[in-house]
Symmetry: D2
Subunit: 360 residues, 4 copies
């Protein structure tokens, strides 16, 4: 239902195609009185911009947002905030040659079957370009969260077999910001660059894992269907190319014993907190006050230079050979980092507002 | 928002506490004309019933559903279908002794912080008892799915370190039905029983993984936020004790190359299908027509017999020693199998109805 | 969508048929910490009970609510509150004779066309019996509103041609409570009784108008689609037999000039208020702080003793002659008074919670 | 909740302010395969355009829509359709002088109280300008309805005391199209022009009533809260300046007897229909197949040239004298006609899609 909207009280609706005139988002429900500038949004857009980093797509988007509505004298008014990002560099010629082929790992098959039509110029709504709108909306959510003392930091956990060890929040925040791969560890980053180069030379791509840590107060999330982890899982699996979500120990928890996994409660100052954080920041769907810690798995980029066997829309056997002018990331997980952050911020902004009605 | 509801067109709302008079669910949006009996629901309830199997909680619920509304002459009428399951064996005395302790892995801390109140008698809404309402609603969803030729089969993939290899759909369907642990492989089942016994004797518990396969037509799910895998992830992470979700290759996809992971299209008869199913049944959020294949990680049961250090609600150090009369599963993943199936059925029933509006 | 639910943050879902085992409602989103007893609800149910008043249906329901969930030690817990009202006196024999006739003014024709099935025993979901669930839920909403200093008073404005003049809030509150017809004016009440008796003797029925006044703070309601008056209109036109809604001067405003209709702003104490209340309590969809004043038109009861020409479900001409044992109100507007109040309370409870997110 | 969205399956979200860069709407859920051009929308926009008619505001908007997304080769794709209408002639200087005054009948008081901020340049979201987005979205809904054989015709029923008699559908359709006042009766139109001129010369304004007729199939609408008339009432009372809604006999039904009001069923061909249409096209919330007939009351335009006593935002007594350059309609009901049509079309498009899930 309304499949292009996300959230309840802080709710976004996105629109636009990768090779149309632009992409946009309407944010409905942002409280009045929040200071906001287009620069706040442009900074986040710059982080996911292809072309800004090695090993991401060379498409030069140079995105700048237009805030079409919802601001007055530098502050939100409670009215919907519409953001618009023009498509400046949308070259669809590369797709012309392959428009009648079902492309492995792509959505043109399922779109055609569902809707009877597919915009072959770069993927339409199925394009990663759509995630720019999420990042723009997430920038506004982050402003609201900053006001509540909530911080969200995403990072690149793994590329192929290169896996980043756990790091402290301080290092995470500072090192990730400096890294073109959003990797908090310099040595690991170097190793990642190496495997990416190998894959790229082979005309192939790699999968990866994005991690995310958020500092939140106790009490966010709802007990049954809107558990905080359920909303995060929903948000993360809605990101193109994502294949898995885990919180806290995640799949590793399945191999643990209760006595290992249970986090002990302890007194601290006047309050109570957890001594460890195996749970990853929630109990019963509600935040514990410990950091939210979760990971999202991304498949390798579907678009590769290597020739691939496939069929045409008429079922004829054919070989897909992407033109060299087509632009793709060797590992979508890299650019997914700001998208994961944005989606987490949207979940948390909504949870903050919903929590205002928990008690009389 | 309406955190006790799930779904859009086929929408459920659950209510009731583990130690109140019963639990229930209202299904709104089930199309008229579907044949339904209370036996359809009781059969599913029997599958998740504790006490029905070794290695699940000895609480004897013997659940039978009352269909309070929505049927006329054996068929659904389009009106809401309310289902009610009485709590017959709700002994809360075991909880009296520990009611002032924060219980590791449990929600009484977060509920108290959020709401200022917590029903200490067995966990209230946080209890696994709530999942009986999901299973009851899922039974109705399955009837609708059967009408559409859709089948959902859940099974136990792993308990602790014992992992079940992949099996064919036919074996999956037939062997799982016969297994008290919902395990499709007899030898693995035996090994699972063994590790469960060891854990139980040690007063401890084990985590596990539940798998699920569903045969679906092409075209279900929506492209952006309501991707089929996003809705499944949302549904699965809303199940108590779940910590992760993955579809297709899942986290393993992060270690693959694009040329390995991409599923090749091929002609078959008059149509086109995929030669492999690494994706796990969706592309761009929409079902491909190949089986949906996903897994859900569950943490080890939080309630264990081993004494655990914790604090009281006043912050005093204390030891939690559950009374021997308290009843718990050594591995929640076992009983989670029918719950995973039910939640998947709810997602798919909704997707089937939503898909009716995809084209003019 | 979820057509048996109403509201956003304070959201109800109703179920049950007039001649099934009972009717119920689940309230999701009621904040924790609200004191609530079944007596709070029974008092409201008694007000709409048929048989309690002259000139309402003699069906003796003697409704008492069971609170199935959501309370702990006399207070709401934040969990869904399920209310259940058994059908004790559901005699469907009167409907057996007319089950193959399309009944003028009734929904059996449209239900059959839409769903292919209709529960002929008393109307199923189309019965006024469904409104008992609204009144029960409204009683809970009123408790929340009382906590916020909001009061809702409904009354009978008109029966046929007998129209009640405007009265002050104090008289409205006090006299209405004492009147079996919910009429705040004793002389008008006497005249109403007279026309009702005439109609009843003639085997006919009368329409009526229900008025409602609510004292609310400034700021409730949202600017565009969820204008407070839009939500009230939605709520009121969802009540069976209602045919119109107007707020403030309503349809009379269409015959006024701007200089007459505009309410002047004036200073009062430290604040600003309106000198008159032609608008009926909102401007731009948001409450002004002046009382909400609106009216709802009800058609005459469709079920009458007079014989009526109609056709059978097979299209054969027939005469509908309701058995003398069938029980109906001569004027549905009377019993609609507590339903109007309840629906207004539900709208306002939701608006109060939504308003908590208006500002950062 | 998401107060700038309307509808369920066919869902719109509007944004933009009267004196910002433009206004827009995102339509989510429009089925794929519908032919659509910007001309379809511009034709509807031209109908509500101020300056196009005598007795409407002289503001010259000359609106043309940009379709930002959702089309491919002239047809809808199932993706969100974003429409954007630039503000070309937004002169806010007239508002500068009165920006510190509470304007009678306007929303600046309630907005300021609710949000702590108000965009004084022309009313922001509270401006009638927002309705252009509704009309644009309604144009798309009408295309879908035309495909289903559904037609919606709005007209001006009354201006002040000048009331239009009922006319046949054919005359309604044809005459209304020709009338600058959307009035289906030439003589009445002349009388309306006269009273409008008198009011305008006096620096005053008049209220009015808009009627609407829609030809629909049987079965649209849902039985309880989403009764078709409830959704229409919700839609209509969300239009700025509307004060009342009635369907069929409406408030007149309150003065009728059941034997008068009940519509008799009769056989026609192989089917059954109603001999009269007092109900206005629904029974039990579901369309009967007879035309939907409803009316909406509008208050007189709040902005008038006559000086009005009021207070400043600081509570000081002041006189509001709108500058002669401010542009306002003497009767908002005239321009409301296409808005009423658009909102009705949105309700019906949604109902058509929802109805696809009524039966298995």
């Amino acid at each position: 239902m309304a499949s292009n909207s996300f959230g309840n009280l802080f709710r976004i609706t996105t629109f636009g195609e990768s090779h149309g005139s632009g992409i946009g988002v309407v944010i409905d429900g942002c409280p009045a009185g929040l200071e906001l500038t287009s620069q706040d949004i442009d900074l986040e857009l710059a982080r996911r911009r292809p072309g800004a980093r090695a090993h991401t797509s060379p498409r030069n988007e140079d995105d700048r947002v237009d805030i079409l509505s919802g601001l007055f004298e530098g502050k939100t008014t409670g009215a919907p905030i519409a953001l618009w990002i023009k498509n400046k560099d949308a070259d669809s010629s590369a797709y012309e040659a392959v428009k009648n082929l079902y492309r492995p790992g792509h959505a043109n098959f399922t779109y055609l079957e569902k809707y009877g039509v597919f915009d072959h110029r770069g993927g339409g709504r199925a394009s990663a370009r759509e995630t720019a709108a999420r990042v723009a909306a997430g920038a506004v959510a982050k402003k609201l969260l900053a006001h509540e003392g909530i911080e969200v930091v995403g990072f690149l956990c793994a590329v192929g077999d290169v896996v980043c060890p756990d790091v402290e929040m301080k290092q995470l925040r500072e090192q990730t910001r400096l890294s073109p791969l959003f990797c908090p560890d310099r040595a690991i980053e170097t190793a990642m660059v190496q495997v990416l180069s190998v894959a790229q030379e082979a005309g192939d791509s790699l999968g990866g894992v994005v991690g995310c840590v958020a500092t939140v107060p106790v009490g966010l999330g709802d007990p049954v269907y809107n558990k905080l982890e359920a909303l995060l899982a929903y948000a993360m699996l809605s990101i193109p190319a994502s294949k898995g979500f885990e919180i806290g120990e995640g799949f590793a928890a399945a191999r643990m014993q209760g006595s290992q996994h249970n986090d002990r409660f302890m007194a601290e100052g006047d309050g109570v907190r957890l001594a460890t954080n195996h749970a990853g920041g929630t109990l019963g769907g509600i935040s514990t006050g410990e950091p939210l810690v979760f990971r999202v798995a991304f498949k390798p980029t579907s678009s590769i230079r290597k020739p691939q066997e496939t069929v045409t829309v008429d079922g004829q056997v054919a070989t897909l050979q992407m033109p060299t002018t087509a632009r793709h990331d060797p590992c979508v997980a890299i650019r997914a980092v700001p998208v994961v952050e944005a989606m987490a911020a949207l979940v948390l902004a909504d949870a903050v507002l919903l929590n205002r009605s928990a008690r009389i």
